[in-house]
Symmetry: D2
């Protein structure tokens, strides 16, 4: 089918490619024209403006937006005057599901259908396909089924979960209509919250491996420092590349994130090109807020988020305050290396 795509960054451009390979017609627009030009060369129809994109689509139109969260609403405001009843807008980015609920209601008043679609898959999605978590009105989701089916991985060689009986369900193809407006981004939000927790679990554990030789180092001895009592228990020089590779094979903790960890460690086991200042991009935060509203305890997901905050130095004032208290009650002076 024909679909418009606005936002041709890392994700958007690859999704267009996957759609083109799947035989769909894509009319594409991007703030900077280079990306439009590049995809035009690969078979997409380039648009020079929003108005041009809308004009090049047959009614009822379907327009997919693949943009940073903060850019979605301004774009919708610019698009809506050009759209009409029966058109469909899809937000495939990482927007807050609470906004979806409101926006869908506003657009419904103009008879425009709004779909929120959480998209997972990253840079490998072009090849592997994208996992799609979809919210919105049934009729619009059904109309877009060919597009979802192409973007998703399909059944591939991942066996069906034993006991699964629902023939015709789409979850096993890698896309799912999760519920009404907001449900898609809600499920994607939690997906990312889980992702933060999984990543932190690997990172913490592998850090324990990386320091399994601390018993070989010199220890300082003073009232501020606890010497390691059992240095003979920490004499292991472990090969993180081999261990990551090993765990991919038959272990309980094998996963796609572990595959990527193995890639990163194989490239450079010291990870020297990274500073360790870890971004967080919204869904992790919203996941915690939703959990708190629901009264669900989420200590793992929360501490994973806070580790990211701390990695960027966001705890520094609190840390200074701890040192200040220690100075007040014990006269403790900070050690230069804090050890």
């Amino acid at each position: 089918m024909q679909i418009g795509m606005i936002g041709l960054g890392r994700m958007g451009a690859n999704m267009v490619r996957r759609l083109l390979h799947g035989g769909h017609q894509c009319v594409v627009f991007n703030r900077s024209p280079e990306a439009v030009k590049a995809l035009s060369g690969e078979g997409a129809v380039g648009a020079s403006s929003l108005a041009d994109l809308v004009k090049k689509l047959e009614r009822p139109r379907a327009i997919w937006m693949m943009l940073p969260g903060a850019s979605v609403e301004p774009l919708i405001a610019g698009l809506v005057p050009h759209l009409g009843p029966g058109d469909i807008l899809i937000d495939g980015g990482n927007s807050y599901y609470v906004d979806d609920i409101r926006i869908a209601r506003e657009l419904a008043a103009r008879k425009i259908d709004y779909i929120d679609c959480g998209t997972s898959g990253g840079v490998m999605g072009l090849e592997r396909g994208y996992c799609l978590m979809i919210g919105g009105p049934e009729r619009a989701v059904q109309r877009l089924e060919p597009v979802f089916a192409t973007l998703a991985p399909g059944a591939g060689d991942i066996p069906l979960t034993p006991g699964r009986k629902k023939p015709g369900g789409t979850a096993e193809l890698g896309y799912l209509h999760c519920g009404p407006s907001g449900a898609g981004h809600f499920v994607k939000m939690v997906h990312n919250g889980i992702e933060y927790g999984l990543m932190a679990a690997y990172a913490e554990g592998i850090d324990i491996l990386a320091r399994a030789n601390v018993g070989k180092r010199e220890q300082s001895h003073d009232a501020e420092t606890t010497p390691l009592r059992n240095p003979e228990e920490f004499q292991f020089d472990l090969d993180l590349r081999d261990i990551a590779e090993l765990w991919r094979r038959g272990s309980v903790i094998s996963s796609w994130l572990l595959d990527l960890t193995a890639v990163a460690l194989t490239r450079d086991p010291t990870l020297a090109k990274f500073d360790g200042r870890v971004s967080d991009s919204g869904e992790g935060r919203w996941t915690i807020k939703a959990a708190i509203d629901e009264g669900v305890p989420v200590p793992v997901l929360s501490t994973a988020l806070y580790s990211r905050f701390s990695s960027r130095g966001e705890a520094q004032f609190a840390d200074k305050l701890l040192s200040a208290m220690r100075f007040e009650f014990g006269g403790h002076i900070e050690k230069p290396d804090g050890k």
Copy 2:
């Protein structure tokens, strides 16, 4: 090659089967004779006692122990008088690596080689193969290579990590000599610590999905209760089976644990047969202790462990104390349902 196996529980019995299929000769012993009898019928050589098992093995012997941690040392004490120089003992269970270091030293004095082998794979290991994390002296590990190679999954259809150059390495076959005595169980310990974190991340996140409809419930209003401010944001009735199935396909959080989660939810999305009293079996605890000795912050792995403690009611006195303080400063009476 020929190998003895002591301990024919869930894990041990299946490992014998996999070894038999791989053409090895297995002499087997178990406290209760039924398991011995069963495996004898499948091609193993049954032994009627430890002494009998040792007698039936050619020298130098290799004996694999697959037992609960607390049973290993008593067994070794019983075995050692029957063993001689050049024999190899393998502990394939979940023992504490600190014990391995000591035991290996003690046995080395008798010229017996000791191997600590962390074994992951669970009930599916018979078919999938076991991921083996091995510690101990080089010569003993080399002698057992045929056994490790059979137990491990082998390369299978899991592609090699891109950039990996080490030809002849065994990590890609699913077993690895990680280092000297203790290294195998150390790596397995951290593996399980990570496992706890991963499991908790999924469990917390899926719980958020499970309660995404709290906005539909009645709220009570009093000074002890915060009403949900935004019930309209929590109106989703999500199908957990479908979502677990979906995430297995193309998402960033796909993993073997997620596959198992999908199995469990497909069988019964209410998980009614479980009470939610979650055991922890040693490695999770030791992982935290090792991290603390190394000075590695592990908030995710720790809170995952504590969630298991709490699931069994272990926090109850602390909770009572919180209620008691609230009563003292605010006259707050516990609500019958604690809400």
Copy 3:
């Protein structure tokens, strides 16, 4: 001065008493008339309705509301038609500061001043005085100074912080104009967030003391259970009452909450009358949300909140899921007592 008080529960009634003792005139109203009658007998002027209360106050009026958060806005809606320019409304409860900002703006349009006042002190406030955290327009706060000064503890015998130079500041008297609308409840919210953290720190620590004799108990031994490796290190029968009393005297962790802990443990060291289902009443949740918005890592405050959730069984589905995963990968059956 003259002040109206609406809401004569635990907090409101005692605040009226403290104001009466301080020589102020109080016109009081409550949904149930018994409380009005009781305070009338102690010198307050009773009102039979909101309209009656408003009528009995001289203009410009000052009306203090002491109500559960959910009741504040309906009350304001009912009051406003009776009020006029220059009147002041004070919300002394635990409302969300975000609401204060909006309500203050709405009332300002009617020239009614709105003050948000966080009030700490609990059941002992009548005698000790209340710690007041105040937000709102300067002129209104100044007009109410006599009321704040009476409700607050005053300097008492708590020495001024050394180095403090600000003569005439009110913080040392126990009340403070923290900033514009919302600032009072914001500071109170964080105060309560800290309170949750402090309480949990004591509760967790004292629980460690309470179980310092676990080494005396029988241990079960199987693959699901880690035996305590060092029972000889956990043979202490500690007297929690004595230790709480001891720590009140010269230790770094002495505090009012510890005083209360000592009271509770002295009354009954087993805390038998509590079930350990701990309520949380809004500020703890909002504190975490504010921290996340600010990007401040708050693992301690968060886990303190989640412990309360868990104490009420809110983690149960997540816990069941953990048991379900363990069953799938390891065939682990839940132990009846979860140990």
Copy 4:
């Protein structure tokens, strides 16, 4: 009575002063002679060596050691040859209670009594008195009662906990015989574990206050950054000095640590002289290990410890790994400022 003191650092020297003021005779020794000389000028008897100190004490002797944990055992080894039956050794530092149990047993074989005494009070102890948590044999503890009574704060003006009936108990005087060998340092260990949790609760909360004006700052907008959705809710410039002072008066969270926080913030609300690299000195770590052995969930105390680790950059490899994973799955490049 007469007592020897070895170790005249911050704590030891002030304890000697308090003992001298209390009429006791103190024979003092220190590695560096300046401290001995200084205290000799204040009435103590200086010793030039361990042997000299022992010689100057009448039998049966009582010798108090006030040293960093790692120095205690070497000192005991040097002292013991000079001691005889009936002598008492007191370890007043922060040793691991597990060592106490062993050392006490070893010394008992020589008929030397060993007392482990946890000492809280910090630099203010000279004036306020020290809170003493004592473990060891009854007869030795009784013999030292005059010393404990002088070092402890005494009843002072802290009222007895209501309901407390135990006349003659010493907890209300600020010292307590907690139990057999190890019990004193066990209670002190948990005391410090709680201290870490309390400190972190204040630090996290006050950090939220410190950033309550983030809504005034410019925001960057891209796919890596979640813009603050509600900047109007974070416009507060709060005076941390005033708020700390305020909370000391009538609030639920008043405490000695809060008093010290107020001192530190009053001296410099920016805490510019601290880097925020926070030491941890043993008890916090041992507390977590004890909790894990007991199966007590301690998420608050653990995350407080880990925050200290992280403050010293100990999480850096784990953080790099997170960034590396994000690069692999999403092509995310670290932002220079990590935001």
